[in-house]
Amino acid sequence: MTKLNLDFSLHYKAFNFTIKKALDLTGITGVFGHSGSGKSTLLRAIAGLEKNISGSIIFNKKTLIDTAQNFSVKPEQRNISLVFQDSRLFPHLTVRDNLTYAAKRCVNGQLKLTDILKLTELEALADANVLEISSGQRQRVALARALLTEPKLLLLDEPLSALDQLSKTKLLRLIVKIQQQLNIPILYVSHSVDELQQVCDNILVLSQGKVVSYGNIHQTIHQLNFLCTRLPSEQLIHQQTSLSLPIASTDNGQGLMVLTLAEQEILLPRLPDMFIKNQQLRCFILASDISICLNEPQNSTIVNQLSGQIKAIESSALDESTHSVLITVICSAQEFFVHISSYSQQKLALAINQQVYLQFKAGAVRTYLY
């Protein structure tokens, strides 16, 4: 288990960042927050690129910085690599030479350049000028280059933000593949919770320079649902149900994929062939995409109907004008979040412990890691 102990603060003119948290880095850990939340600052501090920090960072029992002891490891000696949002490839070098630059300075030299070219699907571009390739390709080169330093920790700072949806999905899949094959712990910064919940096991949520939440991706997102209701100023995410469910069937014969939720099932539009039966699928359903029925719906085109019990009803605490409530419903031990108007809640007289049916279309079950 890789451990990262963060205990430092950092001050700029109008921005204060403080963190005191021990992270267990397994797989991909997400760092989520809006711009100005301190996500990039956190990564830069870990990488050693932030000069004005005070406090300590300890990575796997190795102190990277401890300002109390006046100790700091130089960024080039931390064995941590950061992939920047803007690629930062060396414009005077070709793709291959950019990669060689990293490989030449790597102490271990276990990874072969050709293997990494293959893994990142860059073989055809090896001799290209880095100014003449697309932004998606540039990010792949930046990723490949970072991998060739054989980092003990890989930091990704919004690597997808400049890409179109298709390139995003492709790169996201590549990041998962890299993590699985090379087994490098990754800290992945993003302002998109959708992106993070597709790939992260754990997530650290930052807001205005402070840690809001840290933990399992699904649980943390569900916590954020409540935070959105309680503090409307902190509209961190779209309220949603975040799920990992096993695939019962990749195609039910009618173009729908079937997921198992204990004795119930969830249908969604069929995904490309990369998925297999029993594999866990990460998906999410926006709270505004689910509706509630008191009786089992008959004669409806809406394919997903789950029976459950209301666990909690939370109305927006501060902002009366929204006239909406967030209802938590337990279906087969899984929490679902439903966002409805106060009007509907009163009309149906919804109350805690009441048995209800949830309804949502197949298309409301979203995933984009395909």
């Binding site: 050693g48 690599s81 920047f84 970072a146």
Partner: protein, 227 residues
């Protein structure tokens, strides 16, 4: 025995080459320091570096003459260390030229370093490159044209120097008598034919050097405009 004018040419080239070399060695770290500096002392140092651009060369020459004389500390130290007088020596005109041409080397380099910024250097650090490594593998290749420009301007400006050398170097053949001073001598002696030869050579030489510098900078400016 070469002609006096050829000797003056040799002294000029030797002085300009040595000056350019010294300027690159001290101008590069100075330009780097200025490019990375953020506090208010930056403007003061920048102003000092730029002074030779506006100051009459005779002002600089006058103060250097005083400093280089054996009665004053710099001149005294030099005399004790080398056994020779600093004023009216080849070393004196090289030191004078270094100060006089400093802005022509520091300014283009500083501008190039500022434009390059920190982002690629941070990327280099993330790939395990230390500061010296980063300078030679990232900064130098990406600011190559600015280095050539700086060196050419420094060289050309040193060749064209007159006032400072006249003040601190005098007119010693083979030691401090450079082309510009030889030209002045010919004019004073009403030998306009010889003066013409030197004047036109300096004009053409400087023209070629400057045209090459602008040619070198041309593609970059055009590509920038296009993007």
């Amino acid at each position: 025995m070469p002609s006096p004018d050829l000797l003056a040419l040799a002294v000029t080239l030797k002085m300009a080459a040595l000056t350019t070399l010294i300027l690159l060695l001290i101008g590069t770290p100075l330009a780097w320091f200025l490019a990375k500096m953020t506090n208010r002392f930056k403007v003061i140092i920048e102003a000092i570096v730029a002074l030779p651009l506006v100051l009459p060369p005779t002002v600089l020459g006058f103060y250097l003459l005083i400093a280089f004389s054996p009665q004053h500390l710099p001149g005294k130290i030099w005399q004790q260390a080398t056994g020779q007088q600093l004023a009216f020596s080849f070393s004196a005109i090289v030191i004078g030229s270094v100060l006089y041409s400093l802005p022509f080397v520091v300014q283009p380099l500083q501008k190039a370093f500022e434009q390059l910024g920190d982002s690629l250097l941070e990327a280099g650090a993330m790939l395990g490159a230390g500061p010296i490594d980063r300078f030679f593998t990232i900064v130098l290749p990406l600011t190559k044209t600015s280095f050539i420009t700086a060196a050419s301007l420094g060289f050309a400006h040193t060749v064209g120097e007159f006032g400072v050398i006249l003040m601190i170097g005098g007119n010693i053949p083979g030691e401090t008598r450079v082309l510009s001073i030889a030209l002045f001598d010919h004019v004073e002696a009403f030998d306009y034919a010889k003066a013409h030869v030197l004047a036109i050579s300096l004009l053409i030489g400087s023209m070629i050097l400057l045209a090459s510098v602008y040619l070198l900078n041309l593609p970059r400016r055009i590509t920038k405009k296009m993007s």
